[in-house]
């Protein structure tokens, strides 16, 4: 079991540029060991200068956004490399959800597998929320079951998520357990395959 997703209120940071890729979310330099501090590495090249000092103009270096738990992002968020460390870095920083008009396919899967809510939103609604995040009170409430985000002043943005994904997040389902519930069917598929297409299902065997 994973942690079930709970409704919460938190700070949202806005990075509305389109096509933010996973190289930007977590630079390769943070991927050289299995236990890197990915939360520190999140948006590393944008966040720090060459000497490793924080760049004051970068949103996540500014209070209150250091505490952000929600990210408003532009279209095609998470494109590029399949590195799941992009989702881990967002989580380790403290982000619990990302809202964008669209997501790259692999990042989208990776997000949900790590309990990170990726909600698809209408561009115009997002633009209004981005403006609110830049205003005096960047505080928002996320309601997953209802499928919306509400600004402290009451303005509301709906997000789209497949009901099955929503329910899995709310329950904290473990994907592998869910699949292993079908283990008999998987085994049957494999043994039928041994007869029907042995070149794929027999053990990889080296030529004599």
């Amino acid at each position: 079991m994973k942690q079930p997703f709970r409704n919460f209120s938190g700070i949202a940071a806005a990075m509305p540029a389109p096509n933010i890729n996973t190289d930007a979310i977590i630079p390769a330099a943070y991927l050289r060991t299995a236990n890197a501090d990915l939360g520190k590495g999140l948006f590393g090249m944008l966040r720090y200068d060459d000497a490793g000092n924080e760049k004051p103009d970068f949103v996540l270096n500014q209070p209150p956004f250091r505490e952000a738990e929600i990210l408003f992002a532009g279209e095609n968020f998470g494109c590029g490399s399949s590195r799941e460390a992009a989702a881990w870095a967002l989580k380790q920083f403290g982000m619990r959800c990302v809202f964008a008009p669209s997501f790259a396919d692999i990042f989208y899967e990776n997000a949900f597998r790590n309990g990170l809510l990726a909600g698809k939103v209408a561009p115009d609604a997002l633009a209004r929320m981005v403006a609110q995040a830049g205003g005096a009170t960047p505080l928002f409430a996320v309601d997953l079951a209802a499928g919306h985000v509400t600004h402290a002043d009451g303005e509301r943005m709906a997000f789209e998520i497949a009901p099955a994904r929503r329910d899995a997040l709310l329950r904290g389902d473990d994907e592998i357990d869910m699949t292993l519930a079908h283990r008999a069917e998987i085994a049957a598929f494999h043994s039928a395959g041994l007869a029907e297409r042995p070149w794929l299902h027999a053990p990889l065997a080296r030529k004599a």
């Binding site: 630079p27 390769a28 330099a29 494109c79 799941e84 597998r113 994907e175 079908h182 070149w199």
Partner: protein
Amino acid sequence: MLRRAATIMTASRPVTLFEKIWLGHLVKSLDDGRDLIFVDRHILQETTSAIAFAGLTRTGRSVLHPEMTIATQDHIVSTEPGRDETTNPQGRELLTLMRHNAYRNRIRHFGVDDPRQGIVHVIGPELGVALPGCVLVCGDSHTSTAGGLGALGIGIGTSEVEHVLATQTLALTRPKTMRITYEGKLQPGTSAKDLILRAIGLFGIAAGQGHAIEYAGEAIAGLPVEARLTICNMSIEIGARLGLIAPDDKTFAYVAGREFAPEGAVLDHALAHWRTLYSAPGARFDKEYTVDCSRIAPQVTWGTTQQDVVGVDDRVPRVDSFPDAARREMAAAAMAYMGVEPGMALEGLPVDVAFIGSCTNARLSDLEAAAAIAKGGKVAPGVRAMVVPGSMSVKRAAEAKGLHEIFRQAGFEWRDAGCSMCVSINEDIVPPGRRAIATSNRNFENRQGPRSRTHLASPAMVAAAALAGHITDIRKADQP
């Protein structure tokens, strides 16, 4: 399974190549609308598998089918000739973990000391692990490369790596279908790299989102198998997780005789199946695009996404030539990062580094194309030029043809196999602010090192730029 798929196919409507393979691997449709797909082949690499194995250990699960899985070390390995696991000290932890995890789980491991070591997407096809009609997965976004053989190559994240290790399946939303048809013939001086860059330039880096792409048309059918791998490799850069090309006699000839490929009666059986792998006439695609090959010049990127691309004889576009405000903003930022100006000619732009390598363009035919340009020439003073073969097998094959002599005499470094400067997670890095021309697939900010500037191009174009010291049009003048 196959029979069930066959019923689906004959029952209703003409189906696409992608759907034939997908349906042939459908274990069952899940209640949440996703499909549980059986995985025939799984390739592991060191940077995306360590945490997956740790997850298995934590939950007390084991690897279900180690005999359908192989592992290699490619991303963080040193490419210094004669290297071992310790040459790049920064890589030791992940390299050791890969070796140990493979050993403990009885998975075949082609590490830096193995003659078959190489980039995952190069060794998959090369070893006959990737086959037409198979579902192959790897924790790396360029797994679509195997689509060049007519396979479903699916790039996955680390949780999915763990999922496949534990279950030999993937739960996926079935992608929609998309076809890119190349009309006309490949022009002199252009290659597969130019075809795919042009498509990305025309349709954008998100065009394929949620789709499986089939590449078709006369120019594709005319391409040798290695060039088809180059095309499918960059499917992810057009937003798709999957890209494939219908296999044909060239494909079958390529596959036969490879180390793990079927032989004898099993091969005959396989061939009978492989010959059914094409999109039925009249099959409908959710999206259709066409590209006119007759107008494609050698492509060079000018910005920081692959859609920022033009012909080498063209200029950096004017910012106001982009229709929407967001794109104009991105273009301006990309130009500032790259140190180029609107309207500037790409030809003549000086380069500091020339990189020939990566899973896109480091197979034997790529090195041959580069060597044909490099032969008898000299790398321009001040330029670091390196050739990093995609696998140690490619390296040996190139040496058997004397390509290493050509490169070395011209002043190129001749390295051992690995990802190298494509991702710069090992010690091969473009210095800050320097300009590189590369045969790899990503020109993102900081990709080749902090503040590196990357122009993507074909192997011949990169070799020519290395000699000239600046971006140059291989179709012009007397190339050496």
